[in-house]
Symmetry: C3
Subunit: 132 residues, 3 copies
């Protein structure tokens, strides 16, 4: 269990935690609230990510991700469903590039460091994919 | 693995289960369907939750949460993404205050009772946050 | 950790994996991208699933599910939240009947084969529910 505090950037804080604790393989889930979010999708046609910026506070209705080695260092891959903090409770979701914790972010991380998998460039899709 | 039955209120049933089984720290995920839902978000400006009521049946597209001690008793914190049971499959999401099981609710709970963390009031945000 | 490749049908690939590895009880989560999706909900009134077809590529913003025995063979039950790969990042969610992997699908599966639960027909709701 990890608890991130208001103002912490989620992806970099989680990456730093894994580096410091020697966690190179893991998966995680989490709930909380974030703001100043960069979220987007991978466009297969252009082989590049397309991101949008959202500054408002969103509830983290769902957070899932994993940690794998890239060039020997832990790399965090996270997808989220974020819901608007208004009466609509409407959701956006996708790949989370970065997000600042707005209230709290409670992450349950399962360490898989007895495994050993890393990401390697896949030329067919243009991304670093997990190689088991 | 826990399976809740039609008509059971999710949060109280899960809380009772943890109390009876002596589970004071855990995280969980789940899928199923619910109705008579109270769902909402924490408004940082007013330091209070704002809830909306939904009576219809929703699929539980995602459920994530954790269990931590509050005043010595297990407290369930859950976020969900709910999808409408019509052709739209449209989603709402947020903090789940209560929900009645509509068909079934299949919950996978990981007991962390070898850990020990509780929620304590955080004056900066006005909520009980997990203190590791 | 399982990594499905572009073109693999998710539910059948996961079912085959569990059959080959002798995994009869499990839960899982996952992230990635899919296309050619059949997604829908269970309609209590008609006691049948209603599915819709989506051919476009969606990010898998959330994937959760479990594996239980049905007639002695592993059966995969999965719910997902899928987000459009356009600027809206809008979500649909529900029960996932089938989906073809579009880029990659990274699944973290927790084997519960020291447990033993199966699905049995529940006449009240008209579905095979998990019997613990």
């Amino acid at each position: 269990m990890l608890v991130l505090e208001r103002g912490e950037e989620m992806i970099s804080t989680l990456t730093d935690f894994c580096t410091e604790e020697g966690i190179h393989n893991a998966f995680f889930q989490g709930i909380g609230a974030v703001e100043q979010v960069e979220i987007g999708y991978y466009d297969l046609a252009t082989r590049s990510y397309v991101f949008r910026q959202e500054d408002a506070v969103f509830e983290v209705a769902s957070l899932q991700g994993n940690v794998a080695l890239v060039d020997g260092a832990p790399f965090v891959h996270a997808h989220a469903v974020l819901s608007r903090t208004d009466d609509s409770c409407a959701c956006i979701g996708a790949h989370l590039k970065q997000a600042s914790v707005a209230v709290t972010l409670e992450i349950s991380l399962t360490d898989l460091s007895n495994s050993s998998f890393e990401r390697q460039q896949d030329e067919a899709v243009g991304l670093k994919l997990i190689n088991l």
